[in-house]
């Protein structure tokens, strides 16, 4: 359609519209997301199909297709890493959830000095994980570590905490629980205190015992938040690296090597970049899968209510 010659000539708008301004402000974030998330992820997928090393630029990358995935998934040693990681995750998250809920149960009530006690409980979570690892490494030292000194004083004898695989697992679980139980306490306390007081009071008036109130009222009403705490702890425990690095170095042998530790080793000690990329993709699939199952169950539970 021809333009009416009587109209004034079209000019670029002198002022930015709200829509354009929003777009301008979002653009940097989009750019950052593309550069920091999309590009690395696509690169990761591409690298996982190659055999190459970043440290040996002279050697040309070789296309492997799914070769790296096949190599990883048929390697019995990697399955051992998954089994060990699973054992660690189940143990540490169970301890953290049970302890966290128990302590939160007592901390939900108002008492004198509660805020100070609560802050003290939160302190371990604020520390750097590698520092926590070295701290516990020295505390678990078989000869002069405080744990063995106390055990010997109590007549229990000394234990080789970090030199025997099963003991080392327990030692790392203790360190991890010490550091991350506060996170569960934080969420559980918030959940417990968020329940309207009248609901619990009504149960008590109806003659319910404290245990009945806790298991039938408090816990079910806190379940969504506790499930989020559980999900976050599961994901974090699955990725655990620092504590094993500092406390056991993956040993004795390879018996305390988690999948994350194996990934770090393949990527930055061996510099098998293609193979490490494939393992990273596998870990990502597991973590995203785990998260999706949880989110779905949470959503269903919410809909049912």
């Amino acid at each position: 359609m021809a333009r009416d010659p009587g109209l004034p000539p079209r000019r670029l708008p002198r002022e930015l519209s709200d829509r354009m301004l929003c777009g301008l402000f979002v653009l940097p974030t989009l750019g950052v997301l593309l550069v920091m998330v999309a590009y690395p992820f696509l690169s990761l997928l591409y690298y996982s199909t190659l055999s190459f090393s970043l440290l040996r630029p002279g050697q040309a990358p070789r296309a492997m297709g799914f070769g790296n995935y096949t190599m990883l998934l048929t390697d019995p040693a990697l399955w051992e890493r998954f089994v060990f990681t699973g054992k660690f995750v189940v143990l540490t998250v169970t301890v953290q959830m049970l302890l966290g809920i128990l302590i939160a149960y007592f901390l939900q009530r108002d008492f004198r000095g509660r805020d100070i006690v609560f802050t003290l409980f939160m302190l371990p979570m604020m520390l750097c994980p590698i520092v926590v690892g070295f701290l516990w490494r020295y505390m678990f030292n078989s000869e002069w570590g405080i744990i063995n000194v106390m055990m010997a004083a109590a007549g229990l004898g000394k234990l080789d905490w970090l030199g025997i695989a099963d003991n080392a697992l327990v030692a790392v679980v203790i360190a991890d629980a010490w550091m991350w139980t506060p996170f569960v306490i934080l969420l559980a306390t918030a959940a417990f205190r968020g329940i309207p007081v009248n609901i619990r009071e009504a149960a008590r008036i109806d003659g319910a015992s404290p245990a009945f109130v806790f298991f039938r009222v408090t816990l079910p009403l806190s379940a969504p938040i506790l499930a989020i705490a559980l999900l976050l702890r599961l994901i974090d425990a699955f990725k655990q690296y620092d504590l094993f690095f500092a406390m056991t170095g993956g040993g004795p042998g390879n018996e305390t090597m988690t999948v994350s530790f194996e990934l770090g080793k393949i990527a930055f000690r061996y510099f098998y970049t293609g193979l490490a990329s494939a393992l990273a993709v596998l870990m990502l699939v597991i973590i995203v899968g785990l998260a999706m199952v949880f989110v779905r169950r949470l959503t269903l539970a919410a809909e049912e209510r």
């Binding site: 002022e15 930015l16 301004l21 970043l54 440290l55 040996r56 630029p57 002279g58 030292n141 078989s142 000869e143 002069w144 000394k158 080789d160 905490w161 970090l162 030199g163 025997i164 695989a165 056991t248 170095g249 993956g250 040993g251 004795p252 042998g253 390879n254 018996e255 080793k265 930055f268 000690r269 061996y270 510099f271």
Partner: protein, 474 residues
Amino acid sequence: MKRIRRAHLVTTAAVLGAGWLALPGTALAQTELVFVWHAGTCADILVEISRDYPDQNVRIVPALVPYGPEWHNKIASEFAIKGQGFDFAMWDSQSTAEFAGGGHAYSVNEIFDRSDYLSPDLFAPAALAQYGEYPDGSGKYWGLPVNMDAYGFMYRKDLFENPDEQAAFKARFGYDLAPPQTYQQARDMAEFFTRPDQGLYGWGQMGGRDYDFATTASNSFMWSFGGELYNPQTFEVKGYLDSPASIDGVKAYVDMFKFGPPGSGNWGWDEVNAAFQQGSLAMAMQWYYFNGSNADPAVNPKAEVTGFGNLPGAVGRDGKFRRQFSVGGQGMGVNGYSQKIDALIKFMEWYFQPAQQARYAAVCQTGLKAVLDSPEWQQLNSYNRHFARAFQYTNDYWHLPEYAILLDELQEEVSNAISGKKTVAQALADAAARNERTLEMAGYTITRSATLPEVPDQLITPVGTDAVVALPFD
């Protein structure tokens, strides 16, 4: 409203612009030469000496990491991105192949050509080869011997010189109690001094899974018994690493944990030092690097009664005596991607002058011949004269670019032997199989020999002697 919005945009742009101008790279600054090393006294003294560098426009900046895999990984990661995050680095002798082979290190031959002062003659030839040459025997250097080190030995003189102990030992074992010349003797003495009820143990050694903790120690035993890591001509590992002589050596090493405190199987150097300084150990194998602190009464309450020397050797199954132990220390390598090579060469010309190196050698071990040969340095303390002798007996890991992978595999398997998960023979056989797989993946062709030696040292640079060659101790 629109005016306000425009004002916001202008202000934002101005703030961003001012921030950009304030970035360190945009302002003129003095030249900073960044180096990577593991944290410790040697890095500290380097920084201290560098403060006196006459060109005050140049500043030496340390980027230190704890000793262990992170130190290697920090250098390797920077090389992987061809980064300029550091200008020079002290890396382990065995990493030279990895970094030079990958094309990341700047040629030291080039530095020799460009410098009027720096030349190979300044350094002990064995040290220059050990810390900088790749491939072996090629005359191509990628590092300068900046911090030499070797596995050493320390013991409690008060125990060894006690007449009652001497008499009791002689009555039990039939020969005089004196610092051991062989691991066979060391085992007897370790057993003799192991008295858990008194909090005393005979022998301390590293066995940790971390980095090279277990294998620097186990290799020292293995080489002394005539074993080898591999055949550098044929690239065979099977039949060498798991040869009968290698198994003898690693068995002797694992056996010594019986005479260490419970749990010492996962010790690193820190724990060995701490146990010795607390008086829990009669003998310990430890790097010369730590002798400075172990001889210091402020650090080691037993310093006055601590004696130093070289590690024992062993009489192998072929009847030959060998004394071989792990070389430690680092060469100074230059980042090939650095843009400050000229300034760095000038600094190196100053730093490797005898005056600076004498200051350094008062705390750590220099590679500069002029200092090493000087009587002042050799008499500076009780252990320098032993160290000057130690380099005749040192041996090293594979000088191959795949070193880091081979090391980790061997560490894992030796650790399995220490923990008892596998027998020594099984662990070494598994390590050999894994090492060969790694070499094959990297493109090496392994040529199988018709016969495999029982004592591989007889084939590869033999060092065996018919009689025990005794070394002095303090």
